[in-house]
Symmetry: C2
Subunit: 105 residues, 2 copies
Protein backbone atom coordinates (compact mmCIF):
# COMPACT_ATOMS: atom_id res chain seq x y z
CA UNK A 1 0.00 0.00 0.00
CA UNK A 2 1.26 3.46 -0.84
CA UNK A 3 -0.23 5.24 2.17
CA UNK A 4 -1.33 4.49 5.72
CA UNK A 5 -4.86 5.60 6.60
CA UNK A 6 -6.48 6.34 9.98
CA UNK A 7 -3.14 6.49 11.74
CA UNK A 8 -1.52 8.73 14.33
CA UNK A 9 1.78 10.41 13.46
CA UNK A 10 4.13 11.71 16.11
CA UNK A 11 5.09 15.22 15.06
CA UNK A 12 8.68 15.34 16.22
CA UNK A 13 11.31 13.35 14.35
CA UNK A 14 13.45 10.59 15.80
CA UNK A 15 17.05 11.65 15.16
CA UNK A 16 20.08 9.34 15.18
CA UNK A 17 23.72 9.73 14.14
CA UNK A 18 23.66 13.54 14.07
CA UNK A 19 20.61 13.51 11.83
CA UNK A 20 22.10 11.22 9.22
CA UNK A 21 19.33 8.78 10.15
CA UNK A 22 15.90 10.25 10.96
CA UNK A 23 12.40 8.85 11.15
CA UNK A 24 8.79 9.62 12.02
CA UNK A 25 6.70 7.31 14.17
CA UNK A 26 3.35 6.07 12.81
CA UNK A 27 0.92 4.45 15.29
CA UNK A 28 -1.85 2.14 14.09
CA UNK A 29 -5.29 1.54 15.58
CA UNK A 30 -4.34 -2.09 16.35
CA UNK A 31 -1.55 -0.89 18.63
CA UNK A 32 1.27 -1.63 16.20
CA UNK A 33 3.98 0.84 15.25
CA UNK A 34 6.05 1.63 12.19
CA UNK A 35 8.66 4.26 11.49
CA UNK A 36 9.17 5.96 8.13
CA UNK A 37 12.77 7.05 7.82
CA UNK A 38 15.61 8.39 5.76
CA UNK A 39 19.25 7.33 5.97
CA UNK A 40 21.98 9.47 4.45
CA UNK A 41 25.10 7.70 3.12
CA UNK A 42 27.28 6.37 5.93
CA UNK A 43 27.98 3.37 8.15
CA UNK A 44 25.69 2.60 11.05
CA UNK A 45 25.10 -0.04 13.69
CA UNK A 46 21.68 -0.43 15.25
CA UNK A 47 20.31 -2.59 18.02
CA UNK A 48 16.78 -3.94 18.09
CA UNK A 49 14.45 -4.27 21.03
CA UNK A 50 11.54 -5.91 19.20
CA UNK A 51 11.78 -7.88 15.98
CA UNK A 52 11.94 -5.47 13.04
CA UNK A 53 10.97 -5.80 9.40
CA UNK A 54 12.88 -3.25 7.34
CA UNK A 55 11.29 -2.45 4.00
CA UNK A 56 13.57 -0.48 1.70
CA UNK A 57 11.43 1.93 -0.33
CA UNK A 58 14.39 3.23 -2.31
CA UNK A 59 18.17 3.41 -2.07
CA UNK A 60 21.36 1.44 -2.34
CA UNK A 61 22.78 -0.16 0.79
CA UNK A 62 24.47 -3.18 2.29
CA UNK A 63 23.28 -4.95 5.42
CA UNK A 64 25.11 -7.29 7.77
CA UNK A 65 22.51 -9.21 9.75
CA UNK A 66 23.26 -10.65 13.19
CA UNK A 67 25.20 -13.91 13.02
CA UNK A 68 25.96 -13.50 9.32
CA UNK A 69 29.36 -13.03 7.71
CA UNK A 70 28.09 -12.02 4.27
CA UNK A 71 26.66 -8.58 3.56
CA UNK A 72 23.30 -8.46 1.74
CA UNK A 73 23.06 -5.88 -1.01
CA UNK A 74 19.97 -3.85 -1.89
CA UNK A 75 19.50 -1.44 -4.77
CA UNK A 76 16.02 -0.05 -5.23
CA UNK A 77 13.48 -1.82 -3.07
CA UNK A 78 13.78 -4.83 -0.76
CA UNK A 79 13.15 -6.17 2.69
CA UNK A 80 15.08 -7.77 5.53
CA UNK A 81 14.18 -8.96 9.01
CA UNK A 82 16.15 -8.42 12.19
CA UNK A 83 15.38 -10.53 15.27
CA UNK A 84 14.62 -8.94 18.65
CA UNK A 85 17.51 -8.02 20.95
CA UNK A 86 20.08 -8.14 18.17
CA UNK A 87 22.37 -5.72 16.40
CA UNK A 88 22.95 -5.21 12.71
CA UNK A 89 25.21 -3.09 10.54
CA UNK A 90 24.33 -0.95 7.57
CA UNK A 91 26.49 0.58 4.90
CA UNK A 92 24.27 3.11 3.16
CA UNK A 93 25.57 4.08 -0.28
CA UNK A 94 22.81 6.44 -1.47
CA UNK A 95 20.01 8.27 0.33
CA UNK A 96 17.71 5.51 1.51
CA UNK A 97 13.98 5.73 2.20
CA UNK A 98 12.63 3.02 4.49
CA UNK A 99 9.65 1.75 6.45
CA UNK A 100 10.41 -0.21 9.62
CA UNK A 101 7.72 -2.37 11.23
CA UNK A 102 8.07 -3.37 14.88
CA UNK A 103 6.78 -6.84 15.65
CA UNK A 104 5.73 -8.03 19.11
CA UNK A 105 6.31 -11.74 19.63
CA UNK B 1 -0.20 19.19 19.67
CA UNK B 2 2.52 16.57 19.75
CA UNK B 3 0.87 14.13 17.36
CA UNK B 4 -1.64 14.12 14.51
CA UNK B 5 -4.51 11.65 14.90
CA UNK B 6 -6.82 10.09 12.30
CA UNK B 7 -4.58 11.12 9.42
CA UNK B 8 -3.26 9.50 6.27
CA UNK B 9 0.49 9.30 5.76
CA UNK B 10 2.04 8.83 2.34
CA UNK B 11 4.59 6.07 2.69
CA UNK B 12 7.27 7.28 0.30
CA UNK B 13 9.38 10.28 1.24
CA UNK B 14 9.58 13.55 -0.67
CA UNK B 15 13.28 14.02 -1.45
CA UNK B 16 14.95 17.34 -2.40
CA UNK B 17 18.54 18.50 -2.79
CA UNK B 18 20.02 14.99 -2.99
CA UNK B 19 18.23 13.98 0.20
CA UNK B 20 19.54 16.88 2.27
CA UNK B 21 15.89 17.94 2.60
CA UNK B 22 13.27 15.19 2.97
CA UNK B 23 9.69 15.09 4.16
CA UNK B 24 6.62 12.90 4.62
CA UNK B 25 3.19 14.03 3.55
CA UNK B 26 0.35 13.95 6.11
CA UNK B 27 -3.23 14.30 4.83
CA UNK B 28 -6.05 15.41 7.12
CA UNK B 29 -9.74 14.52 7.03
CA UNK B 30 -10.64 18.15 6.25
CA UNK B 31 -8.62 17.96 3.02
CA UNK B 32 -5.64 19.93 4.31
CA UNK B 33 -2.04 18.81 4.03
CA UNK B 34 1.12 19.14 6.08
CA UNK B 35 4.62 17.80 5.55
CA UNK B 36 6.93 16.69 8.35
CA UNK B 37 10.51 17.13 7.25
CA UNK B 38 14.19 17.19 8.02
CA UNK B 39 16.77 19.57 6.61
CA UNK B 40 20.46 18.81 6.87
CA UNK B 41 22.90 21.75 7.11
CA UNK B 42 23.20 23.61 3.82
CA UNK B 43 21.82 26.46 1.74
CA UNK B 44 18.54 26.04 -0.08
CA UNK B 45 16.05 28.04 -2.10
CA UNK B 46 12.42 26.94 -2.27
CA UNK B 47 9.42 28.15 -4.18
CA UNK B 48 5.86 28.00 -2.88
CA UNK B 49 2.71 27.17 -4.74
CA UNK B 50 0.26 27.65 -1.87
CA UNK B 51 0.87 29.82 1.19
CA UNK B 52 3.01 27.88 3.68
CA UNK B 53 3.38 28.08 7.44
CA UNK B 54 6.73 26.66 8.46
CA UNK B 55 6.93 25.55 12.08
CA UNK B 56 10.46 24.82 13.23
CA UNK B 57 10.33 21.93 15.70
CA UNK B 58 14.06 22.05 16.38
CA UNK B 59 17.23 23.35 14.77
CA UNK B 60 19.28 26.43 14.02
CA UNK B 61 18.71 28.22 10.73
CA UNK B 62 18.40 31.54 8.96
CA UNK B 63 15.58 32.46 6.62
CA UNK B 64 15.35 35.13 3.94
CA UNK B 65 11.67 35.73 3.21
CA UNK B 66 10.51 37.07 -0.15
CA UNK B 67 10.94 40.83 -0.46
CA UNK B 68 13.07 41.03 2.68
CA UNK B 69 16.72 42.07 2.92
CA UNK B 70 17.28 40.90 6.50
CA UNK B 71 17.68 37.25 7.41
CA UNK B 72 15.55 35.95 10.30
CA UNK B 73 17.36 33.70 12.75
CA UNK B 74 15.87 30.70 14.51
CA UNK B 75 17.45 28.54 17.16
CA UNK B 76 15.21 25.91 18.75
CA UNK B 77 11.59 26.38 17.80
CA UNK B 78 9.83 29.07 15.79
CA UNK B 79 7.51 29.79 12.91
CA UNK B 80 7.49 31.78 9.71
CA UNK B 81 4.99 32.27 6.89
CA UNK B 82 5.71 32.30 3.17
CA UNK B 83 3.13 33.70 0.74
CA UNK B 84 1.86 31.69 -2.23
CA UNK B 85 3.84 31.81 -5.50
CA UNK B 86 6.99 33.12 -3.81
CA UNK B 87 10.52 31.95 -3.19
CA UNK B 88 12.55 32.00 -0.01
CA UNK B 89 16.08 31.12 1.01
CA UNK B 90 17.26 29.03 3.93
CA UNK B 91 20.64 28.68 5.51
CA UNK B 92 20.39 25.62 7.73
CA UNK B 93 23.12 25.50 10.37
CA UNK B 94 22.15 22.35 12.30
CA UNK B 95 19.84 19.43 11.50
CA UNK B 96 16.37 20.98 11.46
CA UNK B 97 13.06 19.26 12.15
CA UNK B 98 10.03 21.04 10.70
CA UNK B 99 6.29 20.88 10.07
CA UNK B 100 5.03 22.72 7.00
CA UNK B 101 1.30 23.53 6.65
CA UNK B 102 -0.10 24.30 3.20
CA UNK B 103 -2.84 26.92 3.25
CA UNK B 104 -5.44 27.34 0.49
CA UNK B 105 -6.57 30.92 0.11
Amino acid sequence: MSQFENVTVVKKANVYFDGKVTSRTVLFADGTKKTLGIMMPGEYEFGTDQKEIMEILGGELKVLLPGESEWQKFNGTGEFVIPAKASFKLEVLTVTDYCCSYISE
